[in-house]
């Protein structure tokens, strides 16, 4: 179904403002963070206006309503991912979700299924965002585990040719991104999950770039943990999600200790509440979780398949337009098979910061830099790239503006046409 973009845009108040002396805002940086529809802003604001109280405590009506709203948001997230409600842990960000997992695994005692010992192996990929690389890298250092990784090939796809030797019988964890935030590549999970589970490992999926843009059903993916952030999915900042299989969350030790997460406490010892409460110490980011619930309902109403189809169509236009520009290189797959709406590129003779600055002068917001994936940039042989990323509120005219902007920037900086 074709999306009615002008109607969708009306839901996002930011598009009412102008940029750089009266220019129309052309927002092509949703891979960094998405804009927010009124329903999300209102849900967050209304929580504070009408229902604000600390959840899971207090005998008063406000506490009841706040708890209902917060737990209601958990149910929405669970439904969105086709998960059980007790499998949804609210965190402050996807980064925290992944760190929670790393620290919890790192503290698992001997005898716990998560216990790591020196010589065990953790497998990542060369295309990981720092948030799904550095925590594992540091966990490996702390535990004496070996960190190995899948290479990225010249087409921006994972090189799986050595999968059987890379994921060997010492492998305890395989952590990878569902979709690269630089290349747009959507990774083939079934082959990796099959091999991971064959050797008794756990598969952790960074779904920050996929969950907001396509239907993700955790029951169909044969994975063990998944992390995503609220703010990339039209939700507020300050809320992220960790999903884990309930039998795994049950055995995973807690990470943060404090109020809410306990069952009993004495001066010398404590026991833990069942998951997900065990992982949610302290008064959580309640209004933000409620806002995320509203965001996921909004996405569901429009339809994730419709959104994905729309984004792939725009991505096709974007890639075709960029390919028509001389002395421009696209990093990542140029076919639309298993790829999302994130396109990184470089123009000979114009540094990405200068290109980004020029585009900004035209009202076009893109990301420039290494996109928190420094090792991947090194592999690609560039210090930085320019990245355009699309979402449901983008339209063909945004792509045209970007293409024209890049051509005009070449002229402005006097590089080869």
């Amino acid at each position: 179904m074709t999306l009615n973009i002008s109607a969708i845009k009306k839901d996002f108040p930011i598009f009412e403002r102008s940029i750089r002396d009266g220019r129309k805002l052309i927002y092509l940086d949703s891979g960094a963070t998405s804009q927010k529809p009124n329903v999300v802003i209102d849900a967050e604001g209304d929580f504070y206006r009408f229902r604000n109280a600390a959840v899971h405590r207090g005998a008063h009506q406000l506490a009841e309503e706040a708890t209902d709203a917060y737990e209601g948001a958990r149910a929405i997230v669970a439904h969105f991912l086709h998960a059980d409600v007790d499998e949804i842990v609210f965190t402050k960000s996807a980064t925290e979700s992944l760190n929670l997992l790393c620290y919890a695994i790192g503290s698992a005692p001997l005898g716990n299924i998560f216990h790591l010992q020196a010589g065990d192996r953790i497998v990542v990929t060369e295309m990981e965002h720092h948030a799904n690389l550095v925590p594992w890298q540091q966990l490996a250092k702390r535990t004496g585990c070996e960190l190995v990784w899948f290479d990225v090939d010249s087409n921006g796809r994972l090189d799986l040719s050595n999968i059987d030797s890379l994921i060997n019988d010492r492998t305890k964890i395989v952590a990878l991104t569902h979709q690269s935030n630089v290349l747009g590549t959507i990774n083939p999970l079934s082959e990796i999950s099959k091999r991971t589970h064959e050797v008794g490992g756990l598969l952790v999926l960074d779904a920050c770039q996929s969950v907001p843009h396509m239907a993700v059903d955790v029951t169909g993916l044969d994975i063990d943990f998944l992390a995503f952030s609220g703010h990339k999915a039209l939700g507020p900042t300050g809320v992220g999600v960790l999903w884990g299989r309930s039998e795994l969350l049950g055995q995973l030790p807690p990470f943060l200790f404090g109020g809410s997460m306990i069952e009993t406490v004495t001066m010398t010892d404590s026991t833990w509440a069942p998951a997900p409460r065990k992982f949610e110490a302290g008064v959580p980011n309640m209004a933000q979780a409620v806002g995320l619930g509203a965001a996921l309902q909004y996405l569901t109403k429009i339809g994730l398949d419709n959104i994905h189809e729309h984004e792939i169509s725009l991505t096709g236009d974007l890639i075709a337009g960029l390919q028509d520009i001389s002395h421009l290189k696209i990093f990542g797959p140029t076919d639309l098979h298993s790829r999302g709406g994130v396109v990184s590129f470089a123009v000979d003779g114009i540094h990405p910061h200068d290109l980004g600055q020029y585009l900004d002068s035209q009202g076009i917001a893109v990301r420039t830099g290494h996109h928190c994936a420094w090792p991947l940039n090194r592999k690609l042989g560039v210090a930085a790239t320019t990245r355009a990323s699309v979402y449901l509120y983008n339209e063909k005219s945004d792509i045209d503006a970007l293409i024209n902007g890049v051509i005009a920037a070449k002229n402005y900086f006097g590089v080869k046409a």
Binding site: R20, D21, H351, P352, H353, D354, Q357, Y358, S361, T368, G369, H370, W374, N377, A383, A384, Y412, F413, G414
Partner: protein, 147 residues
């Protein structure tokens, strides 16, 4: 805001034809600075003879602002005493922190006043300062060594 205020001719000229680029073989100190948020990198060699900057050479990858700033700075500081260099450094830093309210003292900063427009773009100030912070670090290391 007019983009030409940011990308003045002087800046684009220095970007395309950088001065003192290419590291000298001899140096008193070498420093390597980077901008972790964007990946810009700069290596700077500094030599001093009796309190005078006798050589500043550099190599780096980065945007036009960071590379042009390294070029302008290297030309500006060459032959200056550490005290004069400090005055120029302070003047440039003040200009960068001026949020577009100052145009810079041309007597002190010469070509570096071309960077006045940068101070209106908060994200680019650290680009313009990359080489200057490298110089400060290098000069401090030499000072500590001789102290």
């Amino acid at each position: 805001m007019n983009l030409d205020h940011l990308y003045q001719e002087v800046i684009l000229d220095h970007y395309k034809h950088p001065q003192n680029k290419g590291l000298s073989v001899a140096k008193d100190v070498q420093v390597h600075h980077l901008n972790p948020s964007c990946g810009d990198e700069l290596t700077l060699n500094l030599s001093m003879i009796e309190g005078i900057v006798s050589a500043v050479t550099w190599e780096g990858v980065g945007c036009s602002i960071s590379m042009a700033s390294a070029s302008v700075m290297s030309g500006l500081l060459l032959g200056k005493s550490t005290d004069q260099a400090q005055i120029i450094f302070d003047s440039f830093l003040t200009l960068m922190q001026s949020k577009g309210t100052q145009s810079g003292d041309e007597e002190v900063l010469e070509d570096a006043v071309a960077f006045s427009g940068v101070s209106k773009y908060p994200a680019r100030i650290k680009c313009a300062l990359l080489a200057w912070m490298a110089y400060k670090d290098a000069a401090l290391q030499i000072a500590n060594r001789t102290a």
